[in-house]
């Protein structure tokens, strides 16, 4: 079974998801994991699909790209299965005045502590910059990591919080 990594991005308009999903369904490509969102007026899709060959999908998406100012890329990837978790899930929230290097500096602190970022989004609105990251941390590092995050945040002039995202099993 082919596994494909597909990205589609273009100026937002109604119907992008339906159009792209229809093309994929028509080819027998099964849309598995995906994330789709609007970023500053552009609609961005990152999809993992299983099914046909990459060239076939690329050809089928080409008319959409030609008509609708969409940019689509398709490439075959190797299914690696699930990556085992590094540790416990946390959410890091950063907010403050926009400046260069906030994501770079804050995620470097996470990585240096053995953390693995599994999900991250940023939003810039006016002068306010917001970073939200899901991160897996090795057991026992959170307390010392919080100090390092605060020091780095202070250097950048932003605020940071780190809180456990452990779910309650009901």
């Amino acid at each position: 079974m082919n596994e494909l990594a597909i990205t589609v991005i273009g100026r937002d308009r109604p119907g992008i998801v339906a159009d792209v999903a229809e093309v994929l369904a028509g080819l027998g490509a099964n849309l598995t994991d995906s994330t789709m969102t609007r970023l500053r007026g552009h609609f961005a899709m990152t999809l993992i699909c299983t099914g046909p060959a990459a060239a076939e999908v690329e050809a089928a998406l080409a008319p959409l790209a030609a008509e609708g100012q969409l940019l689509a890329t398709v490439r075959a990837v190797t299914p690696d299965g699930d990556v085992p978790p590094v540790g416990e899930p946390y959410v890091m929230a950063v907010h403050g005045s926009d400046r260069m290097g906030i994501v770079a500096a804050m995620t470097r602190v996470l990585v240096d502590a053995g953390g693995n970022v599994t999900d991250l989004s940023t939003r810039l609105t006016g002068a306010l910059y917001v970073v939200l990251a899901e991160v897996e941390l090795p057991a026992g590092v959170a307390d010392t990591l919080v100090d390092r995050l605060h020091r780095t945040a202070a250097e950048l002039g932003v605020e940071v919080t780190l809180r456990p995202a452990d779910p309650d099993l009901l």
């Binding site: 789709m36 969102t37 978790p85 899930p89 995202a165 452990d166 779910p167 309650d168 099993l169 009901l170």
Partner: protein, 190 residues
Amino acid sequence: MTGEERGPDVGLGDWTPESLDVPGEVRVVVSAPNPVLSQAADEVDPTAKETVQLAADLIATMRVSPGCVGLAAPQVGVGARVFAVDVTGHPKAVTVHGTFVLCNARVVEATRWKPGREGCMSVPDLTGDVKRASRLVVEGDLPGSGAPVRLVTDGFEARALQHEIDHCAGLLFLDRVAGAHAVYQRKVYL
């Protein structure tokens, strides 16, 4: 509104699982997309023999499942409005009513909505952010005697009750998540 204004608990009294007077058997917990989890369950006769057995089985199954603080009949494949709850010892629990089973339970008051991340034994690989009332009044019937019960609770026990009442209505936490990016791969297993 305070707990006093809502009125006190009525009817749970000294109820314990032992009052069911039947041994519970551990049942198999079913996972989504099993259709039984998506159907509104039927009201039950709380005094019927099969309801009493089901109540005992839910408690037995809940007790052998690590970290489980609640289990509804649809989760063991039975479309009946019956669930067990026990949040004893949970760090987030404030009000705790111990182990109990309710039949035909319904929410009569829900206030102070708060978000929280939930996992479910029937959706083992995902978690999601769900807003639930942190002050809750629930009415239902006790299995065995059929006595009516009114529970006033809060915090984590309130969340557990809403999650189980949803199961009886054919709803999973997935039906209540806060948005398109509010579902996550579950990373820690008990």
